[in-house]
């Protein structure tokens, strides 16, 4: 069981994705209504099973079991399992929501029923690829898994086949393919540099971390720079972020929760695996990453502040939040890694909640412009839940981003970088201002007499209770109410990484 569990976490959602393609194509050929009804079942079932397995794996890891596939291809640690659990949870909630959301799009003629199996199949494959990347222990396969997370999300970004969808998908595919090729080169050099030290064990990320300061410094600096550029592009760090707001704006409702929740984080998980030994050999890498992180935090939130498109605003906010995670990684300390891991989880949950609310609101109103959304009737519960996500992401206690950001501030100050801690605190204030102000303009402004009341379908969509959103809100609260448990789970991983890296 301990050897098979990591493999099952990859195989089950992958099987669900394949079944979705195989059975969905037949149903899609028959009838639009039947296609909508049948779409996504295998994807939802497989991600639900994946969630159960991930929770079992966390329990077993906590009980002292070692979860690894023989041969060094897979190894589950706290960070990997936290990301796999989040991917499965957001897959389950996001795809459940996508079934409702897309049924309305198909009914309104905005989407083709025949494309639903592609979307749900790719989504389940995305969960499998994220799980693989999170639990992967092979230095070159890390690239293969992260690239796979890009490959299976290109067509979902172009799902609506609008002019802007193709532009977004093209930009996403081109920039990420180029970026990840740089990441591959960095990983290959890391492997080549460690091979004389570790011999046959140089392919294992766990063993690589132990090579640390023994690596040649020039090669380590080059490998680190390539990994920073490569995985930084996938993570949406400034200045390689151009694809992110476009891709988020075009992604279908429901799917966006999964995509925005874990899509960029997996690149940062890859950086967390590969950077410790390189930073031990070339300490200037940490400074470079810290500067990129600070610029990303500020530029991202300033662009978000200036955006009148709700979905793009959330996209730019993600760029800013990736900066926090990168800041934690740049410190090169166990506390920094633990805080970064915690923020990966808290941002993933909160941003998924915000995007789910935003896509419901935008679909109901027929626009994403914040200035046009104010004064309209919005689907029930989306207002309070959006504002919960907004204050949560801003860092208000006891929500999870408060703890993760606090840990990042503290770790940064402790490591002797008060300017970076200052930038992080300032960004946090700007984040809460931007998101709460946008939420207030959308949800708290009163409808004018005889003014807009949303589209007919928007009014209809207000009827069913969005219980999936409520379920996600509960998970957000739980993640914030038990910070000690989360820190312990991720902290062990951070200490191991650092102990081996140094």
């Amino acid at each position: 069981m301990t050897t098979w569990l990591p493999l099952l976490l990859i195989l089950i959602p992958a099987l669900g994705g394949c079944l979705e393609f195989l059975t969905g194509r037949r149903v899609a050929d028959s009838d639009a209504a039947e296609a909508v009804y049948g779409a996504g079942r295998w994807a939802v079932i497989s991600t639900a099973l994946s969630l159960v397995l991930a929770l079992v794996a966390i329990f077993m890891l906590g009980s002292g079991y070692e979860l690894a596939w023989p041969g060094g291809f897979l190894a589950a640690d706290g960070l990997g399992l936290a990301v796999a659990t989040m991917a499965s949870l957001l897959g389950l909630i996001g795809l459940g929501q996508a079934r409702r959301h897309l049924a309305r799009d198909v009914a309104a003629g905005r989407a083709e029923a025949a494309r639903l199996p592609m979307l749900f199949g790719c989504s389940a494959l995305f969960v499998a690829a994220v799980n693989w990347a999170a639990l992967n222990d092979h230095v070159i396969l890390l690239y293969v898994a992260v690239e796979l997370t890009t490959i299976v999300t290109i067509l979902p970004v172009a799902f609506y086949r609008r002019r802007t969808s193709w532009e977004a998908a093209y930009k996403y595919a081109l920039l990420n393919t180029i970026g990840l090729t740089a990441g591959l080169l960095g990983l290959a050099i890391l492997y080549g540099a460690a091979a004389p030290v570790l011999g046959g064990q140089a392919f294992s990320l766990t063993a690589l971390a132990a090579a640390g300061a023994e690596l040649p410094s020039r090669a380590a600096a080059l490998a680190g720079a390539l990994i920073l550029c490569g995985f930084g592009t996938k993570a949406g760090l400034v200045p390689m972020h151009a694809w992110l707001p476009d891709a988020y704006q075009e992604s279908p409702g429901g799917f966006i929760a999964l995509f925005a929740g874990v899509g960029t984080k997996i690149a940062l998980v890859a950086m967390a695996r590969a950077l410790p030994p390189l930073m031990a050999a070339a300490p200037s890498l940490g400074t470079a990453l810290m500067v990129v992180a600070a610029v990303s935090m500020l530029v991202g939130i300033l662009f978000a502040f200036g955006s009148d498109n709700l979905l793009r605003m959330l996209g730019y906010s993600s760029v800013s939040q990736m900066g926090y995670i990168a800041l934690g990684l740049s410190l090169g300390t166990a506390a920094g890694y633990t805080a970064a891991g915690y923020h990966i989880v808290s941002h993933g949950l909160l941003k998924a909640l915000l995007f789910l609310c935003a896509s419901e609101v935008c679909q109901a109103a027929g626009t994403a412009r914040i200035s046009a959304l104010g004064g309209q009737r919005h689907p029930r519960w989306t207002g309070p839940l959006f504002l919960l996500g907004a204050v949560g992401l801003g860092g208000v206690p006891p929500l999870p981003a408060f703890w993760s950001k606090f840990q990042i501030f503290a770790a940064t100050a402790q490591a002797g970088h008060p300017w970076a801690a200052g930038v992080a605190v300032l960004t946090s204030l700007l984040t809460i201002t931007t998101l709460v102000w946008a939420g207030a303009r959308i949800f708290l402004s009163h409808a004018e007499e005889g003014g807009a009341h949303g589209t007919e379908e928007g009014t209809a969509s207000a009827a069913p209770a969005p219980w999936l959103l409520a379920a996600l809100a509960v998970v957000v609260f739980v993640a914030g109410l038990f910070p000690g448990w989360m820190t312990e789970l991720l902290g062990r991983c951070g200490q191991i990484l650092m102990a081996m890296g140094v």
Binding site: I140, A169, Y170, A173, N309
Partner: protein
């Protein structure tokens, strides 16, 4: 034998320049396919004269993927693009510039890359001169991506980038099992196929085939919404 490696390196660069700077799409793809074969040839020669016989398997993988599968996909998509079969006017398209750039990087990289990667397994020995050639192909590909606006040509440039990456991988990570190398190549094939597909569908959906025009379309729609 050194002359053979130099000749193959120069042929690789010539094919790269041709793939980028030849305006006719099918001819450009032919140059790209030729680069795949020459790359496989370089690895096969290195495997036969050097200590790394394992590179024979890499050469076979390269022939199948970079010499046959990817060029075949590109031919099919080239046939499906708009009637002219010529790439859209590039921002900067001078074969001489590309040639000089590639040669300069190759010349500097022959000594510079082994110095940069000192202490890395096989950096200077696995494929003689391979690191400099890989660096030149990578820089050439990035130059192509930045200077060419045609979405199809961007996919060809990404293909060149992957060729350079594969050569560098063969130089410093030749000991990884062949199955891992095949997994990497499979990802590359899928990525290039999706780039070609999205480029073609973007052309069908918007009527434009350049990244600048696509950007303009996107910005117009965003400001409207």
């Amino acid at each position: 034998m050194e002359n053979t490696f130099t000749l193959l390196a120069l042929l690789l660069l010539a094919c790269g320049v041709g793939a980028l700077e030849i305006r006719g799409l099918r001819t450009a793809v032919t140059a790209y396919a030729a680069q795949g074969f020459f790359l496989a040839g370089l690895l096969a020669v290195a495997a036969s004269v050097g200590p790394v016989h394992h590179l024979f398997a890499w050469a076979v993988t390269l022939v199948v993927s970079k010499g046959l599968i990817i060029p075949w996909m590109m031919y099919r998509y080239a046939a499906a693009t708009s009637a002219t079969e010529q790439e859209a006017e590039p921002r900067l398209g001078r074969a001489v510039t590309a040639c000089l750039l590639a040669l300069a990087v190759w010349y500097v990289g022959r000594d510079g890359m082994p110095w940069l990667l000192e202490g890395v397994q096989g950096a200077a020995t696995a494929v003689p001169g391979g690191l400099g050639t890989a660096a030149a192909i990578l820089v050439l590909a990035l130059y192509g991506i930045m200077t060419h606006r045609d979405t199809f040509k961007a996919a060809v440039a990404v293909g060149l980038l992957e060729n350079g990456a594969h050569l560098l991988l063969a130089c410093v990570a030749y000991t990884i099992p062949e199955m891992i190398s095949i997994a990497v190549v499979t990802d590359v094939i899928l990525a290039i196929w999706l780039l070609l597909l999205v480029g073609r569908e973007a052309e069908r959906g918007t009527g434009v085939r350049t990244d600048t025009a696509l950007d303009r379309v996107g910005n117009e729609e965003v400001s409207r919404s």
